[in-house]
């Protein structure tokens, strides 16, 4: 049985990549991702991981090198945070189109400006439509498990898409948690060596990344879209198998005390644990509130979501980013569009909080729930609101 050890979550992320026996790591340091790549370079330096560690000069080159390595048939890993992810942007969109099954951990951080090293989800929300599979971890154990799962899904011949595992910068990346660490041999049962379908090999030359003329481009994009949507089956199956082998089970959407709930909070990432405390407290006071969170963000689990909200009167969606000029947050917008046309829709109220490292406290969640109940009773609320803004 794997041992449970107290370890910093960033290091656990590196250990997961190590247990997956990655071949190439190309990364550039950026707070709060730094500990992940530092530890990986240590593991390589100590001979504990047989991989090429590429200390590239930028994240743009990190993603480019990852694509090259994956196209050569190597299992490839990288990690980054907001400025790095933004610098990669152009190349991030190309990786799925080339069907390169790269795994990337994003230690979520606020986008500049003003420059902030602290946590929110603006970095990943700017990349939400990039064609990658995207999951969100709530705690250190999930970070470890989701990375192993990511390789398994990415390299599935039916998928062959890159995967982003999101974890909150600092609030998750820099905390020490008890984590059950699987060893390489324990992982090997679940994750077979990468068997690439198409590689750059002089013995069998292929052309990758050709020009997409108007007669072909739509079909290429259609393929990218259908393979991403189709990946959900594989994602769920891989989670089920993970549960069988290691005893921890995961689902696209997780619910907490939603039975008979009047209002349900919707969250993503590590604030979920704070939200749970708030739910418990309010339940004690007799307020009928539950919690729901997305673990799978892309492909968006629309059926699961519609099923999960059946019978719920109101949703209070907590966004950690602003969709500038769109009057709301990206998650809330997606939630609304996913519900459009569905029978018995709950009312949806959007709240934006926890930007650039601002804490979201239990009290703030309570405030959000109270507001949502009030709006739901009235039958209307504001389009969205920022929680905890100081006006002066």
């Amino acid at each position: 049985m794997p041992k449970r050890v107290g370890i910093e979550v960033s290091l656990a992320a590196s250990e997961a990549a190590c247990a997956a026996d990655v071949d190439v790591i190309a990364a550039d340091p950026v707070t709060p991702q730094t500990h992940i790549v530092e530890h990986l370079s240590e593991l390589v330096a100590d001979g504990e991981l047989d991989a090429e560690f590429m200390p590239v000069e930028s994240e743009h080159s990190a993603m480019s090198a990852c694509i090259g390595a994956a196209a050569a048939g190597a299992r490839t890993f990288t990690a980054t945070s907001a400025p790095g992810l933004a610098l990669m942007h152009e190349i991030v969109f190309i990786a799925p189109s080339l069907r390169t099954p790269i795994v990337m951990v994003v230690a979520n951080r606020a986008l500049s400006g003003p420059i902030s090293i602290w946590n929110d989800h603006s970095d990943i929300m700017a990349e939400r439509d990039c064609g990658w599979i995207q999951t969100f971890a709530e705690n250190g154990q999930e970070v470890f498990d989701l990375i192993i799962h990511a390789f398994r899904v990415a390299e599935d011949p039916e998928v062959l898409l890159p995967v982003i595992v999101n974890m909150d910068g600092f609030t998750l990346s820099h905390v020490i948690e008890p984590i059950e660490m699987l060893s390489a041999s324990e992982v090997s049962e679940y994750l077979k060596p990468y068997n690439p379908q198409m590689v750059l090999d002089p013995r069998e030359p292929i052309t990758m990344g050709p020009v997409g003329v108007p007669e072909m481009y739509t079909e290429a994009r259609y393929q990218a879209e259908s393979v991403l949507n189709g990946s959900k089956k594989v994602i769920v199956k891989a989670w089920k198998e993970f549960a069988k082998l290691y005893g921890r089970s995961y689902k696209p959407i997780e619910t907490y005390r939603t039975e008979g709930a009047e209002v349900v909070l919707m969250t993503m990432g590590s604030v979920t644990e704070t939200a749970m405390t708030a739910v418990d407290r309010m339940r004690e006071k007799g307020i009928e509130v539950g919690l729901m969170r997305f673990r799978l963000w892309r492909p968006f689990p629309v059926q699961e979501f519609r099923r999960a909200v059946k019978g719920i009167k109101a949703l209070a969606v907590v966004d950690r980013a602003i969709s500038f000029g769109a009057q709301g947050g990206p998650v809330c917008s997606k939630v609304k569009s996913a519900l459009y046309g569905a029978p018995d829709q709950p009312q949806v109220f959007g709240f934006i909080s926890g930007l650039g490292g601002r804490d979201i406290t239990v009290e703030m969640f309570e405030e959000i729930v109270k507001k949502a109940i009030r709006y739901a009773t009235k039958g209307k609320g504001p389009m969205y609101e920022l929680i905890g803004v100081r006006e002066r």
């Binding site: 190439v24 000069e57 080159s61 090198a65 090259g68 080339l98 997409g212 003329v213």
Partner: protein, 325 residues
């Protein structure tokens, strides 16, 4: 070619030209394109045991219009500015797989190719990073002195005085008003084992340098003169002639930098005036006598500096020999 070293290097001769072609006929380059000519020669010299990472640019566009491809060797295109980074990833990936016993041990030449824009401007960071990290690969810069793919805009490799669509001559402008960036010198400053310039008019020289670059372990940088009749307003049948004139006027000197040592590979005893080179090209048509003289002076000075660098190195070697005696 496994484990061949530069010592095993056998020069191509007129009689032993390689027959292999990595690029098939029927690509879409313009008539008389000197860029595809230079590329084809370099590829012939390197053989088919190669993997190519290409930047966006003319060569990428004209060879890879899906569902067709002109490539008979493995080839990948990702973006405009990252050919060196992609190539370095391919090299690292293969290295790891060979070490871990998942890929047959074999030395394959990894090639990154980009235009002057993809090299001197937007790709210089990725290039510098890959050279500094010491990957075993060959970087080919195909220098046609502007962004041809997007419609002849200036780059930092566009020569002084040249007309491009973003360096137009006008009442207040002579055209390009900056001097060409010296990218081979920048590459050499990384302390890499091999840097060379070559021109398709001297095809044996070009092919031999390409072959050498492929054999050398570690990063090698090739800067290939690539005349573009379309962008230079040059008669298509004159691409080779202009490639020769560029060398004979000392505008594009041919040299190698081997482990930091400059070696002139073609010494020009009686250089032709630059005007002979300039007057064949519409992009220089607007230049007056004074500007042409300015260009002549600069070319003379730069060539002299290059000769000095090469000569100084020789002189130093002699004096150490003296000291040892």
């Amino acid at each position: 070619m496994m484990d061949a070293t530069p010592r095993d290097f056998k020069k191509f001769t007129r009689k032993s030209l390689p027959r292999v072609e990595a690029l098939a006929q029927g690509h879409r380059a313009c008539q008389g394109c000197g860029e595809i000519l230079a590329l084809r020669m370099a590829l012939k010299a390197m053989g088919k045991n190669i993997i190519v990472a290409s930047a966006t640019g003319c060569m990428e566009i004209v060879t890879s219009s899906y569902p067709q491809t002109a490539w008979e060797v493995p080839w990948i295109h990702v973006a405009f500015e990252n050919a060196a980074a992609v190539a370095s990833g391919i090299e690292a990936g293969r290295k790891a797989l060979m070490r871990k016993g998942r890929l047959r041990k074999q030395r394959t030449t990894i090639v990154a190719m980009a235009g002057d824009g993809g090299t001197a401007d937007i790709g210089i960071q990725a290039l510098s990073g890959a050279l500094e990290r010491g990957h075993d690969f060959v970087y080919i810069c195909l220098d046609n002195e502007a962004y041809m793919n997007t419609g002849i805009q200036r780059s930092s490799a566009t020569p002084y005085g040249a007309m491009t669509t973003t360096s137009p001559p006008g009442k207040l402008s002579i055209g390009q008003h900056t001097w060409k960036k010296n990218v081979p010198a920048i590459a050499a400053a990384h302390g890499i084992p091999y840097v060379a310039t070559a021109s398709p008019a001297y095809y044996l020289d070009l092919m031999n340098k390409a072959k050498k670059a492929a054999m050398i372990k570690g990063p090698a940088y090739l800067h290939l003169y690539s005349p573009c009749p379309t962008g230079w307003r040059l008669a298509p049948e004159r691409a080779v002639e202009i490639s020769r004139l560029a060398v004979r006027t000392n505008i594009f000197p041919l040299y190698e930098v081997v482990d930091g040592q400059y070696i002139l590979t073609k010494k020009i005893k009686k250089p032709k005036p630059v005007e002979e080179y300039l007057k064949l090209q519409g992009r220089f048509r607007h230049l007056d006598k004074k500007t042409i003289q300015e260009i002549q002076d600069r070319v003379d000075r730069e060539y002299e500096a290059l000769v000095q660098k090469a000569a100084v190195a020789e002189a130093e070697e002699e004096s150490t020999e003296e000291a040892e005696k």
